[in-house]
Structure formats: structure tokens, C-alpha cells
Subunit: 328 residues, 2 copies
């Protein structure tokens, strides 16, 4: 998602665009099942946690969305994102006591699994004899940790995972999650790390069949995805703490774009990251300040998400206190 096209679209035009986007989207397959899961998850985590404070719930979005070019989808435009940021952040949010709704791209990184090879089943296990298998010594700890910690989070009702593929699925599910999290008030957070398509082909404009490839040139015309950050912030989840991301490959424009996004979408924080250094440091941009979170290089295996989530969590605490104060 992106900022500042110079002309601020009036709210009404945006709402018309959003309505057109959702009206044209193919219906979500397992809508009822997702709603049931969400309802149960929010109810379970609406009670105060052990320390008497209300449980905080964060929706972490992760991985890239696709924009199909054909209705029976053979070709699509994809946004690169491994899901590493979202998966790692989820681990640190759980550690910080949050319950996490992980809205992730199918096939992207999963929490607790990011240190494993691409194809963990084939690369981490070996046959012992004709009919049995074992974990390879070198991967033993990482594999056990992944399975044990992942299952603990799910079994304790602290991690709900919901997969998407297309921009249509992603935005429909984000809306459902936002509406189901309203009851949590300021204890709800949106941490929008997914790489969301800026452009799409409206479903009704799409050819039904595979685009034929006779012509020497292909001209694909896409329209802008409506700026859903505004709608999320103003309509879907007006009380929640909202964090968006700004990824650029060009450092020179990064902080300006983060500032613009903060203002335009009225975010509470924007995490600015540059493609090549994003695992080393990020800048958390708020109205009050710009704070750099850096990976602790003195510790092997340290993540930039460790200081990042501490910082975001502190900002969320302040936000909750301020919100409660203004309601008194």
C-alpha cells in the first residue's frame, strides 16, 4: 500500500471505490468457517490475562498478495514477500503476551519455522532403515523447537492462523477480522506487514480464459487498489492501534514516504524498512518521534524484531492508557 499521490481523494470517492472493489470481488470460499473461528478466538481472549490486565490481541498480516490477471487463474502479478517479518514478529508478540491472528499468504514463512531450510521435511529428516525416519542431528533442536512451540501457541488458544492468496481474499478477511476485533477496543492492534498489491484487475474486467499469447507484446492495464488503510482505520477498526509498513529499495525516499503514510492514513506508527537492510534495522515512525530498532549483533541469532516488538508494544501500552484516560 502506498501514500501521497498528490491529490487527496475525498472520503466519498474512496468509499465508492471500496464498495466497487468488494462488489466485484469473487465471494470468499469458507466465510462462515472463518467467522466461527474468529468469534471463538476473540471470546477466548477477551478475558483478562493472568496479571489482571485485559489480554491484547494483534492481527499480524504477512506475505504478499496476488492480483490475478485471469478469472481461471493461470497468470497473476505477485508482490514479493517471504513472510519472514510477519512470522518472526508473531513469535515476539506471543512472547510479549499477545494473542495473535496470523493472516498469512499460503506457502510463506510460519512462526517458529524461519530457521529451517526451504523444504524441512526432506532436508531435516533421514531414513533410519527401510521403514523408519529420524531428525538429522544438525536440525534436531530447530525442528523440535518449531513443532513444540508452534503447537503450544495454537493449543493454548493464543495463535489463530488464516491463509490467503489473492488481494480479494486478503481484504475480505482483513475486514472480517477488524469487525470481530471491535469489542477489544484499544487492546486490539493491526500490524500490517503483508506486501499488498497496489494494483489489480477488477474481476469483471478479467478475461475468463487464459490470455492467448499470439501477440509479440502484452499490455496489462491495472487499476489502483483502493487505499484500504484509511477504511480500516476510520471505519473497520476506529479504536484499534494501527501499524503499517513502508518498504522501499531507495533509501533516499523511504522516511519521507513513511511520514506521508503516517499522516495520510492516520496510522499510529509506520515501520520504515529498506529492502537490503531490513533484517538489520528498521525505523519506527510516529507523530512524536522516529526511533531506530537495530538487531543486537553481539548475540548470535538475534532478530531486529526483538527490539521492534518491544518498542511497538510500549507504544501500544501508552495508546491504551491514553484511550482509557479519555474515556474516563
Amino acid at each position: 500500500m502506498d501514500a501521497a499521490n498528490g491529490l487527496e481523494a475525498p472520503q466519498q470517492i474512496l468509499e465508492t471505490e471500496v464498495k466497487a472493489f468488494f462488489d466485484s470481488a469473487p465471494p470468499l470460499q469458507n466465510c462462515n468457517e472463518i467467522n466461527e473461528k474468529l468469534k471463538e478466538f476473540i471470546e477466548r481472549n477477551s478475558f483478562p490475562s493472568g496479571n489482571g490486565k485485559a489480554r491484547r490481541v494483534v492481527c499480524v498480516t504477512s506475505g504478499g498478495t496476488t492480483a490475478p490477471l485471469e478469472q481461471r487463474c493461470v497468470r497473476y502479478i505477485d508482490n514479493f514477500s517471504s513472510g519472514h517479518r510477519g512470522a518472526t514478529s508473531t513469535e515476539y508478540f506471543l512472547k510479549a503476551g499477545y494473542a495473535v491472528i496470523y493472516l498469512y499468504r499460503r506457502g510463506s514463512f510460519q512462526p517458529f519455522c524461519r530457521s529451517l531450510p526451504d523444504d524441512p521435511l526432506l532436508e531435516c529428516f533421514e531414513p533410519t532403515n527401510e521403514s523408519d525416519i529420524q531428525v538429522r542431528e544438525a536440525h534436531s533442536e530447530a525442528v523440535k523447537r518449531a513443532i513444540v512451540e508452534h503447537h503450544a501457541a495454537v493449543a493454548d488458544g493464543l495463535l489463530l492462523k488464516l491463509p490467503f492468496r489473492t488481494i480479494f481474499e486478503y481484504l475480505q478477511m482483513l475486514q472480517m477480522i477488524a469487525i470481530s476485533m471491535r469489542s477489544l477496543g484499544p487492546c486490539a492492534m493491526f500490524y500490517l506487514a503483508a506486501a499488498v498489491s497496489d494494483y489489480y484487475v477488477p474481476w469483471k474486467d478479467m478475461v475468463e480464459h487464459k490470455i492467448q499469447s499470439g501477440s509479440p507484446l502484452l499490455d496489462v492495464q491495472l487499476v489502483q487498489v483502493p487505499k484500504m488503510l484509511s477504511i480500516l482505520r476510520k471505519k473497520w477498526a476506529p479504536q484499534a492501534f494501527c501499524v503499517s509498513f513502508k518498504l522501499e529499495t531507495d533509501t533516499n525516499i523511504l522516511l519521507n514516504k513513511a511520514d506521508a503514510a503516517l499522516e495520510k492514513y492516520d496510522m499510529h506508527a509506520v515501520v520504515a524498512n529498506e529492502l537490503l537492510t531490513r533484517k538489520e534495522e528498521v525505523v519506527v515512525v510516529t507523530n512524536a518521534d522516529k526511533i531506530t530498532a537495530r538487531r543486537d549483533k553481539s548475540q548470535s541469532g538475534a532478530d531486529v524484531e526483538d527490539p521492534l516488538i518491544k518498542l511497538i508494544s510500549e507504544k501500544h501500552s501508552t495508546f491504551i492508557e491514553d484511550s482509557n484516560r479519555s474515556f474516563k
Copy 2:
């Protein structure tokens, strides 16, 4: 890859296009390592197999290629393909006594693993206690089979796996494989099941940084990928048996397009499949006949690739006999 745009490009124009494509492509990262692996694999499998006949080697390509839209790749156009056809076919080729070079899209299906869930590590295993894990009962057989059979094929030197992501990587690696397989003469086969991009943005035309998204419309202009099937068949591997695929969503044009591809690229066989029924039946189109291979529905877990690979393997046998006869 696609057929018949009405005007047949003269061979010389095609060769110029191919040269331009390769000249503009970013250099392959681990080129020397791949060449070493190929050399070793072909040498190992150049000796006659147990029955005194020469070992046959097939290069199976699998999954979709991406066409990057930016040099520091954030956005790209992707071709949908799970890699199910290539992975399953590889299993049946191994069963039929072939050695297989599996040129696959990172993250796509792997041989022997296609009956497992999306995320096998997290879904097939469970913790037994704080520090140990076990395979879930329901997945026990499938997981063991996957690991044992996969490792056996690799350990026996019968399966070499080479991953790609972009159209540039794919075509550079296909060329290297073809050249390394020349020594096998007619015992070499190319089974081109990958979904290869028809269009791409030449590397030199690509913007270096992320495309900015200020404009309400995005117009992506792509040029056609040169028809490499012709070059593979005529230049890279003139003695090999070549099988290509034709996937359409529109049944009405499928067989005509398969016929056109057979003729245009001088393939030995084209496997015609329709998106919705591709796991049930396919048609093997050759100059001599059109034979439908159907999944045996009376057997649970039967694959259409079982009769398909039998048929392709028989056609390859005939081809080898004919080739040897014409050399006498």
C-alpha cells in the same frame, strides 16, 4: 510457451531474439556448482543399467516461472503451477527406470511429497512432551514413504534436483542441462511440464527500484519470450526426445493448439491438458496419433501420470530404436 502466431518467425530472427534474451539476462548465481553436479550426474548415469541397456535420462521441468517487473524484485508476474504434474511424473519416471533431472520452481511440489499437507512439518508432527516430537498417526505412512523413497532416489544417484525462480534462471539452466545431456543421444528426454512465462520485461528495460504507485492506473508492457522450444529442439538437444505441454482453460481450442505446437516446434509429443480435468485425463498428441491417458478410477489413489508415463516411455523406446536404426 505457445504456438502459431500466424507468421512463422524465420530462424534467424529467432536466433537474434534468443541471443538478446540471454545477453540481457542477469548472470546465473551458482553456475559452476550446477555444471559440476550435472557433469557428475550424467557420467554416473551414462553406463548401461542392470539389464544391459543404456540408462535413460529425463529432464523434467516443473512449476511456474516468474517474470520480474523490477530489477530489485518486489513485483513480478507469475504463472500458476503447483508442480504437481512434474513431481508425480518424476516418481513414475523413476519407477520406469529413468534417471531424472528435476528442474523445479522453488517451493513447488516435490516428488513423493504430493499427498502431504501444505505445511507438512507443522501439520504431520506433534509434540510428545516438552522436548520431543512424533509423526501423527494419520500421516505416519505418507511421511515415512516420502522421506524414505525421496532419499533412496537421491542416494542412488537417480534424482538430481535443481531449483529456479525466474524465467532467466529457468532458461539458462535448461540450456546447461541440454548441453550436458548431449552425450546421451536419443536416450535423453525433455519432459517440459513447467509453466513458462510467455512474456517478460527485458532486464535492461526494467526499473532498478520499486515501481512507485502514485498513478491511478498501471500499464505494464511486456515482450514475448523467444520460442525456446525451437532452439532446444534444433540447437541445444537435436538428438533428444522432446515432450512439451499445452494447458488451456478452453477445451475448444486445446487440441488444435497442441497440434500447432507439435508442428511448429517439431516436438515428438505434446501432452494436451485442460485446467479443470488435468488430474483425470490428458491427451498425448504425436504425428502418428492422439491417445488419451485416463486415471484408473477403480483404484483409490491412482494417478493419470501412471498411464501417461507408460505411454511416453513406450514412445521414447520406439524413438530410440528408430534413431539407432537410422545410424546403422
